[in-house]
Symmetry: C2
Subunit: 256 residues, 2 copies
Amino acid sequence: MSRILLQVAYDGTSFSGYALQGDKRTVERCLNEALTQFTDTEVTVIGASRTDAGVHAYGNLAVFDTASPVPAERFARILDRFLPADLRVVRSCEVPADFHPRHTGAVKTYEYRIRNTAVPDPIADRYSYRYSYPLDPAQMREAAAYLVGEHDFTSFCNPETQSPTRVREITGCSLDMRISEKGDMRDPELILHISGKGFLYHQVRIITGTLLEVGRGLKKPGDIPQILAARDRRLAGFTAPPQGLFLIGYDLQGMI
Amino acid sequence: MSRILLQVAYDGTSFSGYALQGDKRTVERCLNEALTQFTDTEVTVIGASRTDAGVHAYGNLAVFDTASPVPAERFARILDRFLPADLRVVRSCEVPADFHPRHTGAVKTYEYRIRNTAVPDPIADRYSYRYSYPLDPAQMREAAAYLVGEHDFTSFCNPETQSPTRVREITGCSLDMRISEKGDMRDPELILHISGKGFLYHQVRIITGTLLEVGRGLKKPGDIPQILAARDRRLAGFTAPPQGLFLIGYDLQGMI
């Protein structure tokens, strides 16, 4: 048996999230079906990040074990034929039999894309959050700096979070500008980059919603330490919608 | 009665093209239904470009006549509630009663987006053509230059084109690079910009396919004048697929 690692990219719009969920169209279900069909053996993948419905990914991970003689690197392109167009295996490689995608200790990076405009765009609106209130990026950056480091993020996660501890370390949280695909300088995207080894349920989306409320002037950067200390979800901002969120990938350098 | 002009943007993936076509889900049909619903009167728009199934647009045009007292500028945002998410009216304004979107004489610009890589991307592949053969952009530019000007484009249109003449003027045809959204310098998009007052059926997609064959070395730039002169569709290249094509917009400066 060999263990194969897949780097998985998807347009989250039409998926009910990553993880198996009954009969729903999830990423994991499509991967299992494609691998079962190609290898002609029941395959169940083990995934890394359980992204929410509507969240996109360039670099989620999954592993599976197989006795197939097909070289590990070839699975990526072979699976093109068995997967729907909104889900692709970008690359595949063999890993040690004890490699577990949720226990690598690797840092992962999320991006949250914000279009600060009132003008709709049927393509960009599928992959970003259109927020039309004027934003002050300097205030948002100042607030973001307070979130970096190890904190109890109870205030910044969904109360239904299943986890024995709500302490997590954010290794990076920066707000960058990107000139839009259309090259229009008047319509830049604001991109929030957030990195860490692990995140709580809705954590990135609640951080984003809170920073947007800071950018809009409803909260001050200096409120963040108090919100963290209070461990009360009601004090943080709204949960930003899923379509702006991308799981960019895991830093597996030196591990595979 | 007032005549209202709409600038229309859509993700072409799930549309059977722009123009009415029986019961099919087309852009024109969705516009008629939304306007009819909102104004409570049967509305039929007059469109500008009849884009193919799968082709995207940021700036297609449509007009309609209405007795509604709603200010023309407000139609854009009101229609958000009556249109599907993949179709948006970017802006609306009043125009003279004799304004016809197909008879303005305005130059329009198309973009064709090419990703010169073998690596799939479920999001980018929805909005560009992935072409994995190595391409020589300098050869493609040399070939593009031969197409600028007034020519008989019989070789560069679908033989089913309904038009008394196949002479058209291309006012601009350039090939540019754009660093991809992911900011990866190794994976730039090649963008073909094509402008003119009018185009034949499949003309932009056949020009693109021909330039790709030049870029790949199957044809030479110097072949273009002979292909034009022969007026024979079989001599030009393949018809590039629709998902890479965007109708960027019309230059209406000074007209409205």
